[in-house]
Every structure is written in structure tokens, then in C-alpha cells.
């Protein structure tokens, strides 16, 4: 039985759900893949960190965070070590980057990943920033260092997109991508269609947790642009950033616009699009009318869709229905299984 040492940066909802999945599937991984998984470090920004060469107590870590919102300072593995210190100094095999997204730079996640790759460590990230802002560089670095670098969770949680194309559409060239990838705007547009005032919709969304305290990132299309850049960087080798996406948010959309679209048999969705234009990959995020009988119109609430057009396989779409945090956890977990299968 071999051991794989894992360091986890960030321990929010996704990290905790991932830890629970790891606890649940520990035996199955040992039996199915002949590997024991040891979490040798977990860092947080304000809840303390844990470091232990022999593996931290994952069940206790989850319990402490749930019950007292921080790690136990009396635990022998408790530490004030920072994420970057873990990246640079701890002895791990796989870095799992789950720090919060900083949408306009992708930092400090990019630096964490670079440093880990430079040390020859495998990396998994659920943070779309690095894939949206620095994918080409990270990909090349991983290749040079002979490291595995996976990021399935960055778009549509654990729903296979990157692995779908990589593993099951071999030899296909992706020529076009379309999708609905931001649930906040999807929710707002649906509620506006019920003729509810914009402010009321936003404040309800905030209460229900769909909408961030500062909703601009979503409403102005930045989140969708980051996901579009990530998709185009990975699947079409675009080498672009969210700044390169032709981006229009939904704040200009009125109830009147939605009514007029309805009269034409349409709904308005914030669509993400990518295709070749003058020899380069061009990405667009903008509110678009789609027919009510179109698949895109059926994507409501927190569900999302990506349609992929390729030279050999025409167009296929993959839909994630009503995801919960467990689906994010599964995405990280599936990347870890992928690493185990290639070691």
C-alpha cells in the first residue's frame, strides 16, 4: 500500500465537503487504487491551519470547523502557517488549491500553483482564476516539470467538461462552445420575467444565498467571462483572459425587454460563446434571446449547460442539474482519482 500526501489550501464549503467525501471513500480508494490518502496540511485565512507529516485528523478538522468555525488551537497539528509556506515547505505529493477566487487577477492561487509545480508537485485546483488568467503558462510549466495539473471543478463543478473532451472526444477539434454558466444572472432574469422589481429580486437572492454581497461580479458578466475564458483556454488553446471576452452583463435588461422577448416566443439568457474569428478564438458573454423550445431555455436556476461543437462529433451538450456543494467536492475528488490512476 502506497501513500499519497495531500495539502489543501482553503477549507470553505467545498473543502469541507471534499474532506467528508475523502473520509467516506477512504477504504474504497485503498481497495480500488491501492493508495492511502494522507492530508498533511490544511490552511485557512482566519480559522488557523493544520500541518502534520503523518496526516491530520480529517474528521476532527471537519467537526471543529462545523462546531466552532475554527481549528482547535490545542491540537498538536495546529499551526499559524500560511498557504504559501505550506506550498513551499511542506512535504506533499499533491497540492489542492481551494483558496477564494480573486476574479481580476487569479492571485494568489496562480502563485501557489506555480510554486508547487516548480517543486515538481501535482496540482488540482477548483479555482477558476488561474485557468482564466494564466492557463497557458501553468500548462507549459506542468508539462516541463512532468507534473499532473487538473481543474475539472473550475467550470460546472464536478460535471465532466475538460475530462469529457480529453478522454472521450479524442482527435476531435473543438470549433465552437456555447453555454449558460452563471446561476445568479439566470435566477435574476427568471425573476424579472415574473415582473418583479430588480431591487427586490437582488435582495431576495442575497437572502437565499444565490447572490453575493457585491452582486456586480455576476450581474456585469465577470463570472461568466472568467468561465468562458477558462473553457476557451483549455478546449480551444485560446490563451486569453477575461479581459479579452466581449462582455455585456444583464444590468441593462429591463422587465420590458423580457416581455418583448416573451411576445416573440423567446426568453433572455446570459449566453457564453466562443468560436474562431479571423484566425483567433473570440469569446462573447451577452444577454441573448433564445426560443422557448430551445434546450438553453430549459436551463433554469442553478443548472448550467455547455454545448461543444467539434469537427468530428458535431454538437453535444452537457447539463448539470441543480448542483449542490457535494458536486463541487466530487469534481476535486475525481481529479484526485485521475492523478492516482496515472501514478
Amino acid at each position: 500500500m502506497k501513500n499519497l500526501k495531500v495539502a489543501i489550501l482553503g477549507f470553505g464549503n467545498a473543502g469541507q465537503a471534499f474532506a467528508k467525501l475523502l473520509i467516506d471513500k477512504k477504504e474504497e480508494i485503498m481497495q480500488g487504487m491501492n493508495y492511502g490518502i494522507e492530508v498533511v496540511a490544511i490552511t485557512t485565512r482566519s480559522r488557523g491551519s493544520l500541518v502534520s507529516e503523518n496526516g491530520v485528523d480529517l474528521e476532527k478538522a471537519c467537526k471543529d470547523i462545523t462546531e466552532s468555525a475554527k481549528f482547535d488551537e490545542n491540537d498538536k497539528s495546529y499551526s499559524n502557517i500560511t498557504s504559501m509556506e505550506v506550498v513551499e515547505k511542506v512535504n506533499y505529493d499533491v497540492l489542492i488549491e481551494l483558496t477564494p477566487l480573486v476574479i481580476f487577477s487569479g492571485q494568489p492561487a496562480i502563485d501557489h500553483i506555480k510554486k508547487a509545480l516548480k517543486r515538481g508537485k501535482h496540482v488540482i485546483t477548483a479555482n477558476k482564476g488561474p485557468i482564466a488568467w494564466a492557463f497557458e503558462e501553468l500548462k507549459e510549466l506542468a508539462k516541463k516539470q512532468n507534473c499532473l495539473f487538473y481543474y475539472e471543478t473550475t467550470v460546472m463543478d464536478g460535471t465532466p467538461i475538460f475530462n469529457l473532451v480529453n478522454d472521450t472526444l479524442r482527435f476531435c477539434k473543438v470549433t465552437e462552445i456555447n453555454g449558460i454558466l452563471n446561476s445568479t444572472t439566470n435566477f435574476v432574469l427568471e425573476e424579472l420575467a415574473k415582473e418583479r422589481p430588480f431591487d427586490e429580486v437582488i435582495s431576495e437572492g442575497k437572502k437565499r444565498g444565490f447572490i453575493e454581497a457585491d452582486p456586480a461580479m455576476d450581474l456585469e458578466g465577470w463570472d461568466a467571462a472568467a468561465k468562458t475564458a477558462a473553457l476557451l483556454n483549455v478546449l480551444m488553446s485560446a490563451d486569453i483572459t477575461p479581459n479579452d471576452i466581449d462582455r455585456t452583463g444583464i444590468s441593462g435588461i429591463s422587465v420590458e425587454d423580457i416581455k418583448k422577448a416573451d411576445e416573440r416566443g423567446n426568453v433572455i439568457k446570459l449566453l457564453c460563446h466562443g468560436s474562431m474569428k479571423d484566425g483567433k478564438v473570440a469569446g462573447i458573454v451577452k444577454p441573448t434571446e433564445v426560443g422557448k423550445s430551445n434546450l438553453l431555455a430549459s436551463i433554469t436556476g442553478t443548472s448550467s449547460v455547455v454545448s461543444i461543437t467539434t469537427d468530428l462529433m458535431g454538437t453535444i451538450s452537457i447539463v448539470e442539474h441543480d448542483p449542490e456543494i457535494e458536486q463541487t467536492a466530487y469534481g476535486i475528488f475525481s481529479d484526485l482519482l485521475r492523478i492516482l490512476s496515472k501514478l
Copy 2:
């Protein structure tokens, strides 16, 4: 450079499209996978067969079939050898089973596959019969013989279903499957909704090639039942046959039924379903009302969908849009690439 010897049984539209793809991608396979592909046999029922140890001339084979609807009797590789004789006697590495479907038995395809596996040969089939009628036996035989056995094309052409679950949803247990998988019934239901008489719809469908000379296999739900059995056998280890599917066709659906559904905001679709019931996998094919804003309602014409629910990844759906014969060819091709990647 190594060589992989391939024998193709059946050379209808799918076989020809596959051959063209193989010709197109020959160089890419050599460069990317370090293998040359040699087609050492092609059989047909009434157009002659070709056999050559050193590889038949694939371009000439395609040209002859297109131009004169049969192979060239003066070709030195021309032969009257039967499919079973090829299976038993020819020196090949991979058997590609593309003989026509015999929906109530899966034969002679099942026997071809068994015999090839017993000889220790890898097998690809695009014929859903064997997967619907004899999957468990064939799977076990392939395992025992240490042979690869792939069948992605049998449901939804080249759209990844089986490979999607196998490669990208590891450790997930499939708990439920839903889908729309038969385009003939999809077309008929849509046309009936326009208040067109049943007979007129059927004869137009026949003219346009959507509907077989004997439409009963589709209209009575046998084709959908075979695909459902195949899905449940592979993804839920059901070990059932199409006879075990609780099957209702669409011949009992009237224009009146569709109108009433429409008044309720619904459309009628022939749905395929599978889930656990009393500890066993139960499959159902039956006309079902679905809301017009449901994803299932957006699946029209020749498009199809499978929704897969798993314990770890919730529900995801995969949609194939307006497939052509090239997508069938890609399915076979992708199985061949999969074999190459595992040799």
C-alpha cells in the same frame, strides 16, 4: 511503428463513413499513437467481401461500393468469404462488428463477438443487439480472455455515454437513467402535434428515410427498449434483455391525447427510464407527458438525450444534436483509439 490489423463485418453507411474517417486520420494515428491501421477484411452480405493479409485498399473499397454498389470482383482481395469465416480464420487484432441489427435476438452479431473473444481478439461493436441481449456473458468472456470490448456507438452514436461514466464519473454509482432515444417516435409525435393524420406522417417519414419499411420496431418501442436494456446492462449491471423492459409504444397515442397534453402545458415524448425497484433494475419505455419548459421537451427530431443520476454527482444530461452518419463513424473510431491507447 506497429501495425493493428482490423476486420470489419458489415459495410453499410456506418462502415463506409468509418472507413473514410480511417483514411482521413491515418497519418494522425501514426503520428499520435505510433500505430498503422490495416484493414485485413471487410465482409458484406450481398456485395462481396475483401480479404488481404497486407491490408485491403480502403479507398478503392469505398469508391467501388459508392459507384457500383459492390466490391470489384476482379480485385485480388475479392472473396466470397462469410463474416463467420473471417471471424474464425483471418489473422486480425480487432474485430469491428457492424452487421445489421436483428432486434429480437442480437444474432448473428453475438456469435461473431463470442467467437472473436474466444480467439483472444479485441472487439468493437456498433450493434446494440449484443449489448441488449447478451452483455453480461460477453463482458465476462472479454474479461476472462483479457480482451478489450467496446460499444460506445450502440446508444447515441459517438456521443460519449459509456465512456463518460467509465472515464469521467469514477466511483459514482448510477442510480437512475432517463432518456429519449428513438428519433422515429420523436418525429411522429411532433408531426401528430401539428394535427397531421398518422398515415400521412408515417408515409412522409418513410420517404425521408426516418422511418423503416416496417415501422413497428420503432413505433412499438422495441428500438427504445433495446437501447434502454443496453444502458441498464452496462451502467447499472442489470443483466436484462429488451423483453424485461416494461414497454409501451406510441401507436395508442392520438392527436387528441397530444392536444390535451398541450392544454396542460405538456408535450408527449417516448421516455426511457431505469431505476432500482425491489432490489432489481427495472426498465420502462412509455409515452410520457413532460412540461414544455423541461429539457426533455427540447429534444426534437433526430436529437437524443440521456440523463444519468449518480450517488456522488447528482444528475447530469448529455444531448446529441442532429447527428449524421459521421457521428456514428466517430463512435467506432473513438473505440478504436481507446484500444490503441491501451495496447
